[in-house]
C-alpha cells in the first residue's frame, strides 16, 4: 500500500491519543474521600473479567478510529487489485499478449488495448510497489524476459510495442515458469495482460495441466489477469489467400481469394472501398458487403505483362481495429510444382507420378520425377515441393535422415509410403511395423474432412474416401495424429503429432494393396493438396505469418532482411521486423508478413474457462473496461472512514450504560428499603 500524502504518516502516533487522554484523566481524577473501600476493592476484583476486556476494547476501538482518520488523510492507495498486500513482491512479471488483436482501439480511447493495459499496470505497479520490486517484461512475440529499470519503462521498451503476431499464452507462461525456476524468485506477482482471444490461449492444449502443476509447486506466486475482452464495435477486416500471378497471352493479372469480414451492430449492406497498392501505385476498388462476411474467389487485378514480380497491399478505411485493415502480399511468376518420388520399386509409384504430372492449373508447370533409392542424393531439395518416399526410413545418423528433416522443417511436404520390408528405423517419431493382409477389402470409416489432405472440397462435397478398398496395410508405431481410419481404428493416413507437412500413408496405390490408383479421385486430390502445401515455400516471393521465427535464415552470401514498403523510416529494430506485417526483402527474395489467421477469429475465452485454466492457483481475474480511466489501484480513504465509523459505532455500543430501570432495582438502598422512607431493621 502506498500513500499519496505520506508525510501525514508522521502523525500516526496521534492514534495513541485516546490512551494518553485516558491516562491523563486517570491521574487527574477528582479525589473523593471514601469510607466503604471494602466494597470498592471487592468490585474492582470482580471487574477483572469481561468488564476489563470491555474497557480494553473501548480503548482499542478509539485508537482504531483515530488511526483510520489519520490514514484516510494520507490518501492510501490500494483496492481490489493489489489489495492490502502487506508489502511489495520481490518480482513482478508482466506477461504481455502482443498479438495483433491487442491493437484494437476501444471507442473512447486514442490508445490501443495493449497501450491502455500497459499504462494501467505500470501505474498500478508504481503505486503499489514503487521501486521495491524487480519488474520483468515477458512478451508473447519474443518470449524473452527483459528486466526493466522502472515500471514506467513498460511503455517505452520495444518488446512491449505492437506486433502482428499471434500469442501463445501457454508458451508465455512456460517462459515465465522457466524464468522463475532459473532465478529462484521469492514472492512473485504475475500480471497477464490479454484480450482473451481464443486462438491465443489454446485452451485444449495439454500444456495447461503441466503449467498448473508447476506453478502450484512454486510458493508465493500470484496471478493478476488483466483481461480486455471487449470486441470491437465497428470493425472491418481483410485477408487474402492464394495470391498468384497469372499470365495468359498478352495480359497478366494478379489473382487471389479475398475475404472481407465485418463485426458491427449494423447489418445493412455496406459499400467498402478497397485500396490496392502495387509496387507503390494505389488503385481503389469498391465491393458491397451484405452480410458479416464477403468471400471473393479468384479476385483479379490487372498487371503489366512485363511486371513479373513485386509486392503490394490492400487497405481498408481506418476503424477501431487497425490491425486487420491491411494485408500485404508479394507475387512472382509461379515456380514449377516439382515433386520427386523416391522408390525402391518404381512401378509402385507410377500412378503417383501420373497424378502429380497432370497440370491442375493452366500455364503452370507440374514436374514429377521418380528416383531410385540409390540416387536419392540427386534430389533437388530447394525446388522440390513434394517428396514421396517409398523406401525404408533412413537411419538416424545418415545424411538422408537429416535432409528429410530439413525438407519438412523448410515447409515442404513429405509423403511416406511403406516399404516392402519395414525395419525399426524411425522418422519424426514414427516407424513402420509390418504388413498385414486383410481377409477382404475394407474401407475407411472415418477421415478428417474439415482440414488437411482429405478435407471436403471448396463447395463442401466430401471426397469419396469411404469407397476406397484397402487390402494390405502396414502398421505405424509412434505418437501420431490420424487423418483416416479403417474399421478397428487402424490408421490409413496419419501424420506425426509435431509436424503439419509430413504424412504416412499406410498402404500402396497399386492394385494389390488398395484401390487408390483405380479410384484415382482421392489419390489425385491428396497428392495435389500435398503438392500445393509444399509449394507455398517455393519461389522467391513467399507469404508468412508474422512471428519471431518468420524470417528464413538468409544464406551466407545473401543480404539481411530489410523492409521495402516504406517502413524503413520507422526505425524498427531488426529483431522486431519479423513481428510486424509488411514486406521484407533479402536479395532476390521477397517476404510478405501478415497477422496469423487466428487473429481474425472473433472468439474470446469465457470467464468460466479462464477460471478453469487457473484452477488451484492464486489468481485474480480483473476484467477491465478500457473506457474506465480510473487507475487499477484506487484511493481507499473511504474504506478507512467507513472503518472509523464502524469503530465508533462499536465503541458507542460498548459504552452504553445499563438500562435505568435495572440500575434502580440493583440499588442496595432500594433493595434495603431506603428508597423512600428509611425504615430500620429492628427486632
Amino acid at each position: 500500500m502506498t500513500f499519496l500524502e505520506p508525510l501525514y504518516l508522521a502523525a500516526l502516533p496521534l492514534a495513541a491519543l485516546p490512551i494518553i487522554i485516558h491516562l491523563v484523566h486517570l491521574w487527574r481524577r477528582k479525589p473523593i474521600p471514601w469510607a466503604a473501600m471494602m466494597f470498592l476493592h471487592l468490585a474492582q476484583q470482580r471487574n477483572r473479567g469481561l468488564s476489563r476486556l470491555r474497557q480494553i476494547l473501548i480503548l482499542a476501538l478509539r485508537v482504531l478510529a483515530v488511526a483510520c482518520v489519520l490514514l484516510s488523510i494520507t490518501r492510501p492507495l490500494a483496492g481490489g487489485w493489489l489489495g492490502l498486500t502487506g508489502g511489495a513482491p520481490e518480482t513482478i512479471l508482466v506477461l504481455l499478449d502482443r498479438s495483433a488483436s491487442m491493437e484494437q482501439h476501444p471507442t473512447a480511447l486514442p490508445s490501443s488495448k495493449r497501450e491502455a493495459a500497459l499504462q494501467k499496470v505500470a501505474k498500478a505497479i508504481r503505486q503499489s510497489s514503487g521501486d521495491h520490486s524487480k519488474v520483468v517484461l515477458l512478451d508473447s512475440a519474443s518470449l524473452q524476459p527483459l528486466l526493466l529499470s522502472k515500471p514506467e519503462a513498460l511503455l517505452d521498451v520495444p518488446p512491449a510495442g505492437s506486433s502482428d503476431t499471434q500469442a501463445d499464452l501457454p508458451a508465455l507462461l512456460q517462459s515465465a515458469l522457466d524464468y522463475l525456476s532459473l532465478h529462484q524468485s521469492g514472492r512473485t506477482d504475475l500480471w497477464i495482460l490479454s484480450d482473451l482471444q481464443k486462438s491465443d490461449w489454446d485452451r485444449s492444449s495439454g500444456r495447461w495441466q503441466n503449467l498448473r502443476a508447476a506453478f502450484t509447486s512454486l510458493p508465493g506466486v500470484r496471478f493478476h489477469l488483466l483481461t480486455l475482452p471487449q470486441p470491437p464495435e465497428d470493425d472491418l477486416g481483410i485477408r487474402l489467400e492464394n495470391v498468384s500471378r497469372k499470365a495468359a497471352g498478352d495480359h497478366a493479372e494478379l489473382q487471389f481469394d479475398l475475404f472481407l469480414t465485418r463485426r458491427s451492430a449494423v447489418s445493412s449492406p455496406q459499400e467498402v472501398p478497397l485500396r490496392f497498392i502495387l509496387n507503390g501505385v494505389a488503385t481503389t476498388s469498391k465491393v458491397t458487403l451484405k452480410d458479416s462476411q464477403l468471400v471473393l474467389h479468384a479476385f483479379s487485378l490487372p498487371l503489366d505483362r512485363s511486371l513479373l514480380r513485386g509486392w503490394g497491399r490492400v487497405e481498408l478505411p481506418a476503424d477501431s481495429n487497425p490491425s486487420n485493415n491491411v494485408f500485404h502480399f508479394v507475387f512472382e511468376p509461379p515456380p514449377p510444382l516439382r515433386s520427386v518420388l523416391v522408390s525402391e520399386e518404381p512401378s509402385e509409384v507410377l500412378p503417383l507420378q501420373a497424378a502429380l504430372s497432370s497440370p491442375l492449373e493452366p500455364g503452370r508447370d507440374f514436374l514429377s520425377s521418380p528416383l531410385p533409392l540409390a540416387r536419392a542424393h540427386e534430389i533437388p531439395w530447394e525446388d522440390t515441393a513434394l517428396l514421396v518416399w517409398h523406401a525404408p526410413l533412413p537411419k538416424p545418423d545418415s545424411p538422408l535422415h537429416r535432409q528429410l528433416l530439413d525438407h519438412v522443417a523448410a515447409g515442404r511436404t513429405l509423403l511416406l509410403l511403406p516399404p516392402q520390408t519395414p525395419d525399426d528405423s524411425d522418422l519424426l517419431g514414427l516407424r513402420w511395423t509390418r504388413w498385414e493382409t486383410m481377409p477382404q477389402p475394407v474401407s475407411p470409416d472415418w477421415w478428417k474432412n474439415d482440414s488437411d489432405l482429405l478435407a471436403n472440397t471448396r463447395d463442401g462435397s466430401a471426397l469419396p474416401v469411404g469407397t476406397l478398398e484397402i487390402q494390405r496395410l502396414c502398421g505405424v508405431a509412434g505418437n501420431s495424429l490420424p487423418l483416416a481410419l479403417l474399421p478397428g481404428r487402424l490408421p490409413l493416413l496419419l501424420r506425426p503429432g509435431t509436424e503439419r507437412n509430413a504424412f504416412f500413408l499406410a498402404t500402396l496405390p497399386s492394385p494389390g494393396a488398395s484401390s487408390l490408383a483405380r479410384d484415382g479421385v482421392v489419390l489425385f486430390a491428396l497428392l495435389h493438396r500435398a503438392l500445393a502445401e509444399g509449394a507455398q515455400t517455393l519461389g522467391q516471393a513467399r507469404h508468412r505469418p508474422a512471428a519471431a521465427n518468420a524470417l528464413p535464415p538468409p544464406a551466407a552470401e545473401a543480404a539481411p532482411w530489410k523492409p521495402v514498403d516504406g517502413r524503413e523510416s520507422l526505425g524498427i529494430p531488426a529483431e522486431q521486423l519479423p513481428l510486424h506485417a509488411g514486406i521484407l526483402q533479402s536479395g532476390q527474395k521477397l517476404l510478405a508478413l501478415n497477422r496469423p489467421p487466428g487473429e481474425d477469429l472473433p472468439e474470446y475465452l469465457a470467464p468460466d474457462t479462464l477460471h478453469e485454466l487457473f484452477a488451484g492457483l492464486d489468481a485474480r481475474v480483473l476484467t477491465d473496461s478500457l473506457e474506465d480511466t480510473r487507475d487499477l489501484t484506487s484511493e481507499v480513504w473511504r474504506t478507512f472512514l467507513f472503518a472509523m465509523a464502524l469503530a465508533l459505532l462499536a465503541e458507542a455500543v460498548l459504552c452504553l450504560p445499563a438500562p435505568p430501570s435495572t440500575q434502580r432495582n440493583d440499588s442496595p438502598s432500594h433493595a434495603a428499603g431506603f428508597a423512600s422512607a428509611p425504615a430500620p431493621l429492628s427486632r
Partner: protein, 306 residues
Amino acid sequence: MSESRSFLDPAVLARLMALPLHARHAMLGSVSGKHRSPVRGSSLEFAQYRKYVPGDDTRRLDWRTWGRSDRFYIKEFEADTNLRLCLLLDTSGSMAFRPHPAPPNTLSRIDLALRITGTLAYLAAKQGDAIGLSSMSASGAPVSIPARRGAGHLGLVLDQLATLRPAGGTTLIESLHHAAETLRQRALVLIISDFFVPPAELQSAIQHLRFRKHDVAAFHLLDRQELDFDFEKPARFVDLEGGESLLADPSLIARNYRAAVAEYLRALDALVRNTGIDYHRVLLHESYEAAIARFLLGRTPKKGSR
C-alpha cells in the same frame, strides 16, 4: 449548652425526655431503678408464689393463701434496678465520611454519631442510669470511661465526646471483644459505627457480648451514596482510614459494587437474626431525633410483658 457540646440539642432532649430508655433484658444494677432485675425484690410488682422453706422470712408469708389452702406460700415481688449503658463509639477515619457532594442538612457520620451518643447518654443519666463511654480507633489514645451514675459523670462523658475526632483504622472487632471481657455486670451495650468490617468477624464479637448477657444495640450509620455508588465520572477514591487510594470508573464497577453492598447487607440481616441485637440502620440525611425515638419506642416494654 456550651459550644463544645454542640451535638446536644436542648429542644430534642426536651422532647425525648418523655421516652424512657428501657433495657430489653434484666439488668443487675447497684441501686434501685426502673429496670427489671434477675433477682426478686420488694417492688410493688408481683412476681410469683413459692412454697415456704425453713429459713424464709415469715413476714412474707401470704396468710390469705394459707387460709384458703392450709399451705404456706411465700409471695415474691420483682426487684427493680438501674441500667448500665455502655456507649461504644467508632472513631475510626471512616466515621469522618460526608457524602460528596453533600446534600443540605446532611451531617457527617461522626457528627450524627456524636448526636446520637450524647443524646442517649444524657437521657440515660437523667433517668438515673449509669453511663460509660469507649471510643474505637487505632489512632491515638482510646477513651474508656467506666459506667457510673451522677451528673458529674455525665459531664465527664459529654466532655470526652466533644474531644473525639475520627482518625486511623477501625478497632471495632477488638473493642467489642474487649468490652465483652471487661464489662463485669450486665449492661446495655450500644454500638455506634459504620460497621465496615467483615460480617463474620462482627458476628463473632457480638455473640461474645451476648454470651456475657449484655443487651446489645447498634446504630449502623450509612449514607445512600455508599449504598448506591451513583457517581457518573471516574474518580480517585481516597481511603479515609489511611489506606491506598483507588482509581475507579463507576460505569464499569458500579454493578459489582452494588452487588457487594447488597451481599454485605444480607449478611448483616442474618447477623441480626442470629444474635438478636437491637439493630438500627440510619442514613446520614435522616433526623437523629427520629432515629433515637424509634430506638426508645422499640424498647418500651409491651403491656404485661414483664
